[in-house]
C-alpha cells in the first residue's frame, strides 16, 4: 500500500535536520536496514542542504517542499526548492585531481552514490530532485535520469 506525506518547510538549517530525521523514520518504517537508513538519510540531508543553501539561498521567503512516498517496494523522496535552477549534467567531478582538495562540491556525488536512482527536474523557478531507494537492491547499480 502506498503511503505519501508532504511538507512545506522554511529555508533554514533546521529544515535540513528535520528532513534527515523524517527520512530515517520513513526508511525504518519501510523496512530498510540500518546501513540503508544511514545512506538514505545522508542523501536526503545533502539534497536538503542543496535546496536550502544553494537553491533558495536561505531566503526566508522561499520554501522547500519535501515529499516522501513508500510505494511498497521503494522509498521515493522528492525535494523541491524555489531557486534559480540547477544544471546537474554540468557539475564538476569531485574526484578529478583538480577538485579533490576543494572544500565543497561533493553533495550530489554522495547522493548519487547512496541512492539507486536520482532524477533532476527544472521546475522553473527551482529544482526538483527525486531520490529513489529500492528494497533489496544495491546502490552500486545507481542510475540517473536527467529530465
Amino acid at each position: 500500500m502506498t503511503k505519501r506525506v508532504s511538507y512545506s518547510f522554511e529555508s533554514t538549517l533546521d529544515t535540513v535536520n528535520r528532513a534527515e530525521s523524517m527520512a530515517v523514520e520513513a526508511a525504518a518504517t519501510a523496512g530498510f536496514n540500518e546501513d540503508e537508513q544511514y545512506n538514505i538519510a545522508m542523501a536526503v540531508r545533502e539534497a536538503a542542504v542543496n535546496a536550502v543553501m544553494h537553491g533558495n539561498s536561505a531566503d526566508p521567503a522561499k520554501k522547500v517542499l519535501f515529499v516522501c512516498e513508500n510505494t511498497g517496494d521503494a522509498l521515493v523522496i522528492t525535494i523541491t526548492d524555489q531557486g534559480k535552477g540547477l544544471d546537474a549534467s554540468h557539475l564538476p567531478d569531485p574526484l578529478a585531481p583538480d577538485n579533490l582538495m576543494k572544500g565543497s562540491g561533493r553533495g550530489i556525488f554522495l547522493i548519487r552514490a547512496f541512492m539507486d536512482e536520482v532524477k533532476f527536474r527544472n521546475t522553473d523557478p527551482g529544482t526538483e530532485i527525486t531520490l529513489i531507494k529500492h528494497k533489496g537492491r544495491s546502490a552500486a547499480n545507481a542510475k540517473e535520469e536527467i529530465k
Binding site: 538549517l13 545522508m42 540531508r45 542542504v49 582538495m101 572544500g103 565543497s104 556525488f109
Partner: protein, 114 residues
C-alpha cells in the same frame, strides 16, 4: 548530538578528541575554529581523533579537507585517528582516503609526526 572538541598534548602533538556530528552548521564550525586556533598558537602537529564522530556530511568532509590544507600551508601536519567504518567508507568513496594520513593507533600516530 552536539559536536565537541577537546585538546590534549602528547609528546609535542596536539590530539583533538572530537565527538558528535561534523555537519553543516555547528559541527563544521567547531572543527574549523579548533584547527584555526591551534595553528594560530603555533601548534602544527595535529592529530584529529574521530573515534567518537558518528556522522560526517559533505560539508564536514569539506572542513576536513580545508583543515588539512590550512595546516599543511603553515608547514604543519594534520592526521586522522580512529575512523569509524562509516567515516572510513565516506573517505574511500570520495577518494580522500589516500590524501589523509589515517592511523588507528594513537601511540604510533603520535610517533609518526616529523
Amino acid at each position: 548530538m552536539t559536536m565537541k572538541a577537546s585538546n590534549r598534548q602528547v609528546n609535542g602533538v596536539t590530539v583533538v578528541d572530537m565527538s558528535g556530528r561534523i555537519t553543516l552548521g555547528e559541527g563544521s564550525v567547531v572543527l574549523r575554529e579548533s584547527v584555526r586556533d591551534l595553528v594560530a598558537k603555533g601548534q602544527k602537529k595535529i592529530l584529529l581523533n574521530l573515534g567518537d564522530v558518528t556522522y560526517i556530511d559533505s560539508s564536514g568532509i569539506g572542513e576536513l579537507v580545508s583543515a588539512f590544507t590550512t595546516v599543511r600551508n603553515q608547514g604543519g601536519e594534520l592526521k586522522l585517528l580512529n575512523l569509524t567504518k562509516k567515516v572510513h567508507d565516506l573517505l574511500q568513496i570520495t577518494k580522500l582516503y589516500t590524501v589523509f594520513d589515517i592511523k588507528d593507533d594513537e601511540t604510533a600516530a603520535v610517533g609518526s609526526f616529523k
